[in-house]
């Protein structure tokens, strides 16, 4: 089985089940949006997939058990961008993006030609080439976000897990980013993106997983999952839903009035 | 010293009956001179062989730790203290109406004589003191006063050497030898780094090594390979700490040992 196959994945934090029997598959070239309210378990799902949390159930990528993979091997297959945008030291943007090549490098070897190419590609994609020599800690919020995404892209893994990458980006760069993710899927990458912005999710994702209270409530095309009923029951909101050029457009309007 | 020696003296009738000493040097003078039962307590250091030449004798006396309260409890009629004894303790004892006499540490042979005499008069034991001083002078005269051109270093842990102003220097002088520390400009107790000592390579090297191995980091200088090489080429004597802390009749032992070492070198004896 190619792609990501998750079966009955559960994560417990103390006594609470944060993820409770999650199953889904993600095939090559899909751009899957994980949506759901705060605390639903979206980030936990990504963290469990990268092995940051102990979990039960099975996770396979291209038929290989993720838990049996060595850390380096897993890092060459899965790139992960957490929501936190921590940068501890004022390293140059180019050095930051180069960190994404770590899993591909031999110990103590300098960056290889292929590494340098991947770094340049990632920086070009995220429009940070001109910031190459700037200390990453001196970037604006949006620039910092883009530099960090470029780092994950430079990893050039077949599975990319990104947590709220569009937060803090201006609309133009939001669209650029979603376009980059789409381009990646076209090139064969599988992308899982946690995203609160339903408009972006509906517009760009090929498939939506709606996570609610640690389970997958709905799994399907954006127009099928993001229905008025679902938005009402899960988010407690009303929205304007339309279709433009064959794409679903969602504009949240207000809270559902409780009677 | 002169001023101190002019302190009140005790006649036989008024001789103190309950004498407490709280300094390791006065402990030793008092033990040498006191009548039976007159000295009722000595300091804890008196029993410590690292400080006291008379540690074994001190076992016969109750000890004190130099605290005003416990001294007062002993209701002494004379307290002997050193000039380095805690000032506040001495002041408190005096406020309590206790007669305290202070002794400066001996740094010369004259100091030894005058402190013995002063102790004798304070204890009402002038005759005994006079005997001790006479015996001291007789033995000192017997040791001779020939000067030799040999030099000597008295080396303590952590590379400290004893120079002019210390009892050790007086001993070296009395033995007719030259103190290396003096030549190096050390006064009192001063640091002579190992490499300086190695370059000096004294004829006689006196260490205060007690020979129980390195039990404190400061003693590592005695185990240093460079020191051992110098010690192997010099005439080496081990005269542990108490020889140099307080003066007394036993100070002549150190002079004699130094003179013997010098004589051995002069006569080419191994």
């Amino acid at each position: 089985m190619s792609g990501l196959v998750v079966q009955n994945l559960s994560v417990r934090l103390g006594r609470r089940a944060v993820l409770d029997g999650v199953s889904f598959t993600a095939t090559k070239g899909e751009l899957i949006g994980l949506v759901g309210v705060n605390g639903a378990g979206k980030s936990t799902l990504l963290r469990a997939l990268v092995g940051l949390l102990p979990s039960d159930g099975s996770m396979e990528f291209d038929g290989v058990d993720l838990r049996r993979m060595k850390a380096g091997e897993r890092a060459r297959r899965i790139a992960y961008l957490p929501q936190e945008r921590e940068i501890a030291w004022p390293i140059a943007v180019a050095d930051l993006v180069a960190l994404g090549r770590t899993p591909h490098r031999k110990p103590f070897a300098p960056l290889a030609h292929t590494d340098l190419e991947a770094i340049d590609r990632a920086m070009a994609r995220m429009d940070v080439e001109h910031l190459r020599a700037v200390p990453a800690t001196e970037l604006s919020g949006g620039e910092r976000a883009r530099a960090l995404i470029a780092r994950a892209l430079a990893q050039e893994a077949p599975l990319l897990l990104v947590d709220e990458p569009t937060a803090g980006l201006d609309p133009g760069h939001q669209i650029d980013l979603m376009q980059v993710l789409t381009d990646l899927t076209t090139a064969g990458t599988t992308v899982l993106v946690c995203i609160h912005d339903l408009a972006l999710a509906a517009r760009w994702c090929s498939r939506i997983l709606l996570v609610d209270a640690g389970t997958i409530k709905a799994d399907g095309l954006p127009e099928d999952v993001l229905s008025h009923e679902m938005l009402g029951s899960i988010y407690g909101i009303t929205a304007h839903i339309a279709e433009v050029d064959g794409r679903t457009i969602i504009q949240p309007l207000g809270r559902v009035q409780t009677v | 010293m002169v001023a101190l020696a002019a302190a009140p003296t005790a006649s036989a009738e008024t001789m103190p009956q309950r004498v407490v000493s709280m300094n390791v040097c006065t402990d030793q003078l008092a033990m040498l001179l006191a009548a039976d039962g007159q000295l009722i307590s000595v300091s804890s250091l008196a029993r410590d062989a690292d400080y006291s030449m008379l540690a074994e004798d001190a076992a016969a006396y109750p000890i004190n730790y130099g605290r005003a309260e416990e001294i007062h409890q002993l209701s002494p009629d004379l307290v002997l203290a050193g000039t380095f004894t805690t000032r506040s303790t001495v002041a408190m004892l005096r406020r309590l109406g206790i007669h305290v006499e202070e002794f400066a540490p001996e740094t010369s042979l004259d100091d030894i004589r005058s402190n013995l005499q002063r102790m004798g008069s304070l204890l009402g034991r002038e005759d005994e003191a006079a005997e001790l001083v006479a015996a001291f002078d007789t033995r000192l005269a017997g040791l001779g006063s020939d000067r030799s051109d040999l030099d000597v270093a008295i080396y303590e842990p952590d590379s400290y050497a004893l120079g002019p102003g210390t009892l050790a220097h007086a001993v070296v002088e009395a033995a007719g030898l030259t103190n290396v520390a003096d030549a190096l400009g050390v006064t009192g107790m001063g640091r002579v780094p190992l490499e300086v000592m190695v370059m000096q390579a004294p004829d006689i090297l006196v260490t205060t090594d007690d020979g129980d191995g390195v039990r404190v980091r400061a003693e590592e200088n005695f185990a240093h390979p460079a020191f051992r090489r110098v010690a192997a080429t010099s005439r080496t004597l081990s005269l542990p700490g108490p020889h140099w802390v307080c003066g007394g009749p036993f100070t002549l032992d150190a002079i004699e040992l130094l003179q013997n070492a010098a004589a051995d070198i002069a006569d080419g004896r191994p």
């Binding site: 501890a88 390293i91 | 110098v230």
Partner: protein, 333 residues
């Protein structure tokens, strides 16, 4: 990357400086020796006292300055990278003081006299205990403040325990030693100390030197680091043991010398583009430079006084630390 070439130049320059300071250290001392003769007997030793001084006193002192400085510089850079805290340093975090405590116990229990290796081993144990305690109290996610406060508490505790052991000792010289263990000195050390400390420092250095790439990934936080293949557990174990070995061996033979691990990484960080992996070798060399220079300085300032090394490093380091605190506060605000 242009930076790589710059780093090579920096490392070359620092190596040259280490070499110069090493020779300066060999030629500095309270005994007035001719530099030419001094170097001659180093090349062809004879039976002279000069040979003895150069080979048994000056050489071990210079070697220890080099090794201890490199160990402290490297440990400081690793600790800062690992804790992602520019204020972290073996001295400030109480690692050095705890190692000193271990060494003091080894000597005063008579263990070191019976079994020489127990000295570095006990110091190692002390250092290890303090790093583990730091983990326990502050953790790797602990804020800069928590880590420093835990370190201050550990330092004070270890210092007090050292004083206690020395005060309880019957040896008249024990109480004077508190200063040595708290401030450190290289005076009158011997090749015995070099042989005793070197294996531990080399082992510790080997563990720490390989951590550069892991520390690089940690720049982006533990989660990102782990996702890029860095095992946080492995990193933690290696950083802990490497630091304990290096700092433990240093403190066992020279006492707790502070601030080297703070000043050096901080001065060199801008020169290596802040990348932890490039900072490690630079800090090792920089630490060796600083300690050799400080040890030359204490001999020039007060040749006969055994001015403690820690006095000099603290005199430079403590104001530097305060300046860092102010800078840290500003950037946090």
């Amino acid at each position: 990357m242009r930076r790589a070439a710059g780093t090579k130049v920096l490392l070359g320059g620092l190596s040259l400086l280490v070499l110069m300071l090493f020779f300066l250290s060999l030629l500095t001392g309270p005994a007035d020796l001719s530099p030419v003769d001094s170097l001659r007997v180093l090349v062809s030793p004879d039976e002279s006292a000069l040979t003895l001084v150069m080979w048994e006193i000056r050489l071990p002192r210079a070697l220890l300055g080099l090794m201890i400085g490199a160990s402290l510089g490297l440990s400081g850079a690793v600790l800062q990278g690992y804790l992602r805290n520019p204020l972290a340093e073996p001295g400030l975090l109480g690692v050095s003081a705890s190692a000193s405590l271990g060494a003091v116990i080894a000597i005063h229990s008579g263990l070191a006299a019976a079994f020489a290796l127990s000295l570095p081993l006990m110091a190692l144990l002390g250092a290890l205990a303090s790093v583990l305690a730091l983990h326990l109290f502050a953790g790797r996610t602990g804020s800069a403040l928590t880590v420093i406060l835990a370190g201050v508490a550990l330092s004070s505790l270890a210092g007090a325990m050292t004083s206690l052991v020395l005060n309880l000792s019957s040896n008249p010289f024990a109480a004077l030693e508190i200063v040595f263990w708290m401030l450190g000195s290289l005076a009158d050390r011997s090749m015995v100390h070099v042989y005793l400390a070197a294996p531990f420092m080399l082992a510790g250095g080997a563990l720490l030197a390989g951590l550069g790439r892991m520390l690089d990934t940690l720049t982006l936080g533990p989660d990102t680091a782990a996702s890029m293949g860095t095992s946080m557990r492995r990193l933690g174990v290696l950083a802990t043991f490497g630091t304990a070995l290096s700092v433990g061996a240093a403190a066992a033979v020279a006492g707790a010398i502070g601030f080297v691990g703070l000043i050096v990484p901080h001065l060199l960080r801008p020169l290596v583009g802040s990348q932890p992996s490039r900072l490690l070798p630079a800090s090792a060399l920089g630490g060796a430079c600083l300690l050799l220079a400080a040890d030359v300085a204490v001999r020039l300032i007060a040749p006969e006084r055994d001015l403690k090394l820690g006095v000099l490093t603290a005199a430079i380091g403590a104001p530097f630390f305060l300046w860092l605190v102010i800078k840290h506060r500003r950037s946090a605000a």
